[in-house]
Symmetry: C2
Subunit: 130 residues, 2 copies
Amino acid sequence: MMIKINLQSDVPLYTQLTNQIIEGIASGALARGEALPSVRSLSSDLGINMHTVNKAYSALKQEGYVEIHRQKGVVVQNSLPEADDAYYRQLEEKVRPIISESICHNVSEDALLELCRSIFKQIRSSGKAT
Amino acid sequence: MMIKINLQSDVPLYTQLTNQIIEGIASGALARGEALPSVRSLSSDLGINMHTVNKAYSALKQEGYVEIHRQKGVVVQNSLPEADDAYYRQLEEKVRPIISESICHNVSEDALLELCRSIFKQIRSSGKAT
DNA sequence: TGTCTGTTATACAACTACTATAACAGATAA
DNA sequence: TTATCTGTTATAGTAGTTGTATAACAGACA
């Protein structure tokens, strides 16, 4: 799986990493049980520090996306976390300000829903492509 | 309009402020042309520093939500910014990781769309209420 | 003139993001 | 056993962000 880092972005490097890996899992590009590159190899591939990759991996572990086997390395969880009430609350907290902004920018409800649908589609198809 | 600050949250204070004010504008609770409290009065009401409020107001000005008249203070823009291509790109960048996460948590497309619809509804109705 | 407004300049403490070395411990293969 | 791979931990430095604290400035208006 291809991972790209934008050093100019104001999004922290480890967040860019976690986002892309989560999208990889969502799309199926990263299969359950598949191993991620080691912190050392990925950091040297991307030209960034080992600890930055480690921070991303630790966050993914914390949130239940991966588990870690010594020597085997970091592996995508077979059973991903199910959404519970806490997750839905936190999801709403993230979406709410985005919707407020959209309303102010005169983006209609339909337009936003359509954007969501197209992103769902994109993610699903990007998994099949790989 | 009621503004509440959560000092325990990991969301920066000035971000909490901008989010709530933007939601206020979106809902109509803050009318076009209406004046916001002065940085000094709002900061003392909330028990936070003047500069924190000022940072929120400056961000709102930067993004075109308010304009500033000396003496009159900070006033909601009559013509809010319209969504352009750049806005849609940045909107997709925000929504994309949320959708990836949702997929991994087994949240269906329909469930997420329904959440968006309910938030739209909430925001619109909260404006009428006030 | 006094008082309101936003603005600007400094400065400080705490925290975050990223980097840099270095070392440790478990697992595996030669 | 030894070498090499894995993640983990410790320490430390730089830079930037967040929030606070004083203080002063300039425009507007009663």
